[in-house]
Symmetry: C2
Subunit: 544 residues, 2 copies
């Protein structure tokens, strides 16, 4: 082949470096050492201090035997130690495994055994589940305790090793270990599977680097943004924002527990410009008394929801916040799709605009592909807004695979795409719109009913705060839809009234046959647990 | 080695894609197809049309035998065809070689022979040199003519093949060829070496992707910026901005020839937000009559200069433009360093601020390393602002190497750093400040004199528009400094007056022994040609 460019132009130390988000911390500390990096209550760290803390953590871990390919697990709130860990753990070549703080002891024990955890860093708030997990698990990790001065609730320290005293004795000049290549693992995030054991999703340095930057580009974030931690950092590495805020030379504002008073106070006092979260966070802010918002400027919010209700989009506009809707999964480093906005949408009324702006949208600029595949043919569905298929992704912000689970990895990557398990249509403008999770579809008399579509109608009723629609066994139709509804504070509605309300917008076969009023079960990240609703529905005779 | 992450987690089509800037065009055309991509006089193209033009160009080239590893050369002004070529040529797997339009026939012929040019795309304005080159060169490229309706000056078409008619007959649905890997060559830029033959600097898809994004991050560019082409696209691929503007979903505003009237008119009419250029462009705008600026808003300007004079920084502030100072070389894809600003600088007076903001600064966020190495020890110099060494770079936005020149490549990458040939100090804040090109240092009585330092003093004199200081042979001291000075319009100064002016700020041995008033010779990109000044100085007896 006649290619004069193939020889004498090889990679070397001068012209190639593995992509890693660790360089962002170095840049901040080198160029803006004095600038505020982290705020947590009384504690404030500059970027020079933030790097020093991460280096000290890395040095302490390395001194205790942590090596490339080892796992360091963390059970902690959104505190500075979590940010330290996002840099300090991979600085040693090890892999960061953040664990959902609301999991029970058995699941935490399973996670640590599966990840072969060498070190566990844990906040004393989570003592009950963590101490239980340590009794049950087979691994015997070194335990490091976080005793956050901002936390005055119950909980105990485990063992002897305190996080801050560990840092004091460590080397602030620790030189990080370069990844051998950018494909090296940087973190491990377990999916909260509703059936079977959780799967360990492996991220690499390259993907973390690219998605950290992808967040800046996608959200159009100006440099030196001030980011409030309303999204748990244990969730997909906080959508990669621990690294994004370094690439942005921004400021992290930590927050242990999300409540409207604290959120608005921090927004006002720290001049917060950006935050992310599940719809439950946004709804809480919308419903908070207006006086809490006094002195808060315009803030940019990112939300991930299957179909954000019109009321939420409208509510965010009314409190003067700018909302960006994103979509992704643990397997795509958090969001890998965005409902990119168009100026023409501004001229529409709020319901019409919400219909457009509430879609899953398009791939991130730095993800290579996202489409909807027909589940029978494996080909993209037509962009007709009608034909349902499965959302798939491909590109550099898709996971390496599931740890020690080659069968699940192979399934997930079948045909050269990552399969999300979410069902959707492609709209005429090429935007993806979720119809349902594959397992949430209700099949009634041979017809597919999208539970999301029914929920979307219920959400338009003013008394409905939350709604989950699932299948109940039906002797005639196979399955029929049932709605579980949580009312707004002071809201009132009857079963007959909500059924009638649905009949006005839906074909008869999609209308719920029954409505149950209750507190809905939610995951640690605020998602409605449809698997529990399905269990309830299957054993309906027993509980009703 | 105990690394559970090493197996079962390999790259595949779903989770790995080579980095390439070509994806940015796809994203724009998929997500914002109607949005304005390119403006050139009466012609306006949307992003859908821009992709279609690039695909048509690629299809036409592929149909004529262009393959991976072939070179396509272009001699053209800043017109839409140049933007097409930045995407269309690499879409075929071929390599884009843009040629400086002010080169003579012999140099163009050398370039095409060295690059083994298969196709030449050329604008009729450059007929004299290009037709001469085609007569002299050994290769026999297919020639495609650009006949820009915005150009009504002299020049002829060569041969039969017209650019626009070529596109008409080509395939708008052409599917681009993926790079085999991201290390594949994307472009070839010849350095305008002052001695010997030009060297061909090879860029790859990975570096072009990363530097395109690096520009956005470095310049803090909001999405949908409007970029005016005052920097030649033939120069380091326009610092990668043909790709940056796609990643930014911005708008290209083309401009064949830079003059103040046209620049301000386009800024006003097209709502330009950003432009780049050599100091000569910025000075021209500063010196233009104020009425030309009427209706022009705040614009962000990027400038690359060894040491931008205080007058330029002050002048840009006075016309309300925001100036960012960058530094780099052809070998680093254009700028790879930026004088990142600090809020504290705003409180300084303009001379003090200019001293800080006019430095070469720090590495781009996406370049891995930049420092100053002691030329004897090969170690970084202390950050004392005194010790002079050579500026070096390393990382992903450093070239692959010089085409067919392994010796020069090896020299350039000696010790795992790319050697810039520029001499500088490291200041206490870690910022790099250029002292001189290695070859521009004047050695007088064993003392090194930085020609830049002397020029910097001369620039402070109100009558001095441009200054170049070089060595003349000196029987006593070996060398002594001589200044060549171009006065401002209406400016007046005598040799004695300028020498006295320098004595006020410089030690005696650094003061020019003589001052010559003249029009200074400049390169195509507006740099003072010190090699010519050196020639003049060496043959001083002959010309004075």
């Amino acid at each position: 082949m006649n290619d004069l460019y193939r020889i004498g132009l090889e990679a070397n130390a001068a012209n190639y470096a593995p992509l890693t988000p660790l360089v962002f911390l170095d840049w901040c500390a080198d160029v803006y050492p004095e600038r505020l990096a982290i705020v947590h209550g009384e504690r404030r760290f500059s970027w020079a201090q933030a790097r020093e803390r991460s280096r000290r953590l890395a040095s302490a871990l390395a001194a205790r035997g942590v090596r490339r390919g080892h796992t360091v697990s963390v059970v902690a709130a959104n505190t500075p130690e979590m940010i330290d860990a996002h840099f300090g753990v991979p600085m040693t070549g090890a892999v960061l495994n953040t664990i959902n703080t609301r999991l029970d002891a058995a699941t935490i024990a399973f996670t640590m055994d599966h990840a072969e955890t060498k070190v566990l860093i844990t906040d004393r708030e989570f003592f009950p589940a963590v101490s239980g997990a340590l009794r049950q698990c087979e691994v015997n990790p070194l335990v490091i305790n976080i005793d956050d001065p901002e936390y005055d609730g119950p909980g105990e320290l485990i063992g002897e090793l305190g996080y801050e005293s560990l840092l004091v004795g460590a080397d602030p000049g620790y030189q990080r270990i370069e990844p051998t290549d950018e494909w090296q693992a940087i973190s491990l995030n377990y999916t909260s599977g509703t059936t079977g054991n959780p799967k360990g999703v492996v991220y690499h340095h390259r993907g973390a680097h690219l998605n950290a930057i992808g967040n800046i580009l996608t959200w159009n974030m100006p440099r030196h943004s001030v980011y409030l931690w309303t999204l748990p950092m244990f969730h997909c590495n906080g959508w990669c924002f621990p690294w994004t805020i370094a690439a942005n030379v921004g400021t992290h504002v930590c927050l242990r527990r999300v409540d409207a008073t604290a959120v608005f106070r921090l927004m006002r006092e720290e001049h917060v410009t950006h935050f992310c979260g599940a719809p439950v966070v946004h709804n809480m802010l919308i419903q908070a008394p207006a006086e809490l918002r006094a002195g808060v400027g315009r803030v940019s919010a990112m939300v991930a929801a299957a179909a954000p209700p019109v009321a939420m989009i409208e509510g965010m506009e009314q409190i003067g916040f700018d909302l960006t809707h994103v979509y992704g999964l643990t397997e795509t480093y958090g969001p890998a799709a965005v409902c990119a906005k168009h100026e023409a949408w501004d001229e529409l009324d709020i319901p019409a605009r919400s219909q457009l702006a509430g879609r899953q949208g398009v791939r991130y600029l730095l993800e290579d592909g996202m489409t909807v595949l027909d589940q029978e043919t494996g080909q993209p569905v037509p962009a007709d807004g009608q034909t349902i298929g499965e959302i798939v992704f491909r590109g550099n912000i898709t996971m390496r695979g599931y740890l020690k689970n080659p069968a699940a990895t192979q399934d997930a990557f079948d045909g050269g795409w990552f399969h999300s398990g979410d069902l959707a249509t492609l709209e005429p403008d090429g935007y993806v719109k979720i119809k349902d999770r594959a397992k949430d579809v209700i099949i009634s008399g041979g017809e597919n009913i999208s539970s999301l579509e029914v929920e979307d109608v219920l959400y338009r009723h003013p008394a409905v705060a939350l709604a989950g629609v699932v299948a109940v066994p039906d002797p005639t139709w196979g399955e029929s839809p049932r709605a579980y509804v949580e009312l707004t504070p002071g809201g009132q509605a009857t079963e007959a009234e909500l059924i009638e309300f649905c009949q006005a917008s839906l074909p008869r076969f999609k209308v719920p046959r029954s409505v149950v009023f209750c507190q809905l079960p939610k995951t640690a990240t605020g998602k409605i647990q449809k698997n529990i609703l399905r269990d309830w529905a299957r054993s309906a005779d027993a509980i009703e």
